[in-house]
Symmetry: C2
DNA sequence: TCTCAACCTTGACATAGATCAAATCACATG
DNA sequence: CATGTGATTTGATCTATGTCAAGGTTGAGA
């Protein structure tokens, strides 16, 4: 397994007053809640490529991504796989009120999770409405992005899919780094070609070919396998089939 | 626009003590909450084919589906469309905390909504944690089904997509009617070929051809355009590519 | 520096599903 | 009962993407 060192990132979502440091679960940082969360939390690290939970496994924790990327995938009996979730730092993993995982959870890069034992977390949710409210917001956001993703899977061409994914990653990367607009974007592709193909509902060969095409056309510049530079974000965005408004940091 | 008369259904989710009669928003039927809900609710009816809200429109209500089917769709600039949500009786429509709709909302059949003015509904949610909790549960369920749908869009063949959709509709129809297992399933297809193609990420011609193929193979029986009978549910389910456990009423 | 294994790229060919074009059906209306 | 219109079916063809197969790169570790 190739490793991608998790970059310590400059999290804008970070909650500086809070030892857990993730607004994901600590929306207002009230001290009694923090104390309760402290008591039930623990960290876990994973190497790139490792499977964290298999679909159907018992899962007795929920978690917040600290660094790295986790993916959720579904598998059909004959082995066809589709990624259905990509979790970046501060995203929430796990479903309160469910015993077993419905998805395979994988570490796409080296990964650190901040886990909370599920039972006490759920009890705390009942006592502390704003945690549930925050979770509802996050779940609604995830539902929105799942629906964008459905449009991509159902209606976009291979080229549009690749352009969309590059824009999505660039955007999230930029927002994590709080880069100024206008600057050419340069980042590490955190996914293998295979992971990209699982994200996009394509084969790995098609992914590779489309990336080559975009490179030849000058829409992207690559160094090595993973370093990507986007000289003109808006031009790439036009290839993605998305409405072109709502720019890089929208 | 062809009309499909909304069947008054025997809702198992119906909450008989409650004038709103939808557990969707009235989880425990406590009387003071009911009174508050009564004060902000109103009904709206739509004909099959009507657009309820356009993507980007202001939407100052949330709602619960009473009878009929509503769909959520996304549209690309060049007109390609993908359905991203299908709401059946007791499902919830609208996103608390958002001013405008992100999707086109359409009536797939004749439709009755029980609407609640958004502002007071949101205020009530803050005062009444269990409504938020119930909404979180429903949103998590929707997220799960969106993810199943992503697998369908990304990895299933046209034949598997059609079989899946028929099973989904049959299952939901059966659960609404509380039919016994074993009986052959007979129901009205509540979607046009075009709506099915938008659901499945296919063209309408491919949908039609696959349905014809399944008919010729005896997996389904059709009368007219919309009446469908599934003589052997499990056999159809095998064609859907889904894990075959979790039978009709699972 | 060399080697190896994992990852990626490219080519040739096959095919599922899209596209374009005609029927045909079936129901509401006169 | 005839008619017209939108929905559906079916056919012929095209093409984007999948499949199979062979090389090429890259980077970690010896």
């Amino acid at each position: 397994m190739t490793r991608v060192t998790p970059q310590p990132r400059n999290l804008p979502q970070e909650c500086s007053d809070c030892p857990i440091r993730h607004k994901a679960v600590c929306a207002r940082c009230e001290s009694d809640e923090l104390e309760q969360l402290e008591a039930i939390k623990y960290y876990r690290s994973f190497e790139a490529g490792q499977t964290i939970v298999w679909s159907g496994d018992r899962m007795d924790f929920v978690a917040s991504v600290v660094t790295g990327i986790a993916t959720l995938s579904q598998t059909m009996e004959d082995g066809r796989r589709q990624m259905v979730g990509m979790l970046l730092p501060s995203d929430f993993l796990g479903r309160p009120g469910r015993e077993t995982s419905s998805y395979d959870v994988n570490a796409a890069t080296d990964l650190v999770l901040c886990c909370f034992r599920k039972k006490p977390f759920e009890e705390m949710m009942l006592r502390t409405p704003h945690i549930g409210q925050r979770l509802l917001e996050m779940t609604l956001d995830e539902l929105d992005s799942a629906r964008e993703w459905m449009l991509l899977l159902g209606r976009k061409t291979a080229r549009e899919k690749i352009a969309s994914l590059l824009c999505i990653i660039a955007r999230r990367d930029a927002s994590l780094h709080l880069r100024g607009p206008g600057a050419p974007l340069r980042f590490d592709l955190p996914l293998t070609r295979e992971a990209m193909s699982e994200y996009l509902g394509l084969t790995l060969e098609t992914v590779s070919r489309q990336i080559s095409t975009l490179r030849k056309e000058g829409l992207i510049v690559t160094e090595g396998k993973r370093q990507v530079t986007i000289p003109d974000f808006d031009r790439l965005l036009e290839e993605s089939g998305d409405d072109s408004d709502g720019g890089l940091l929208g």
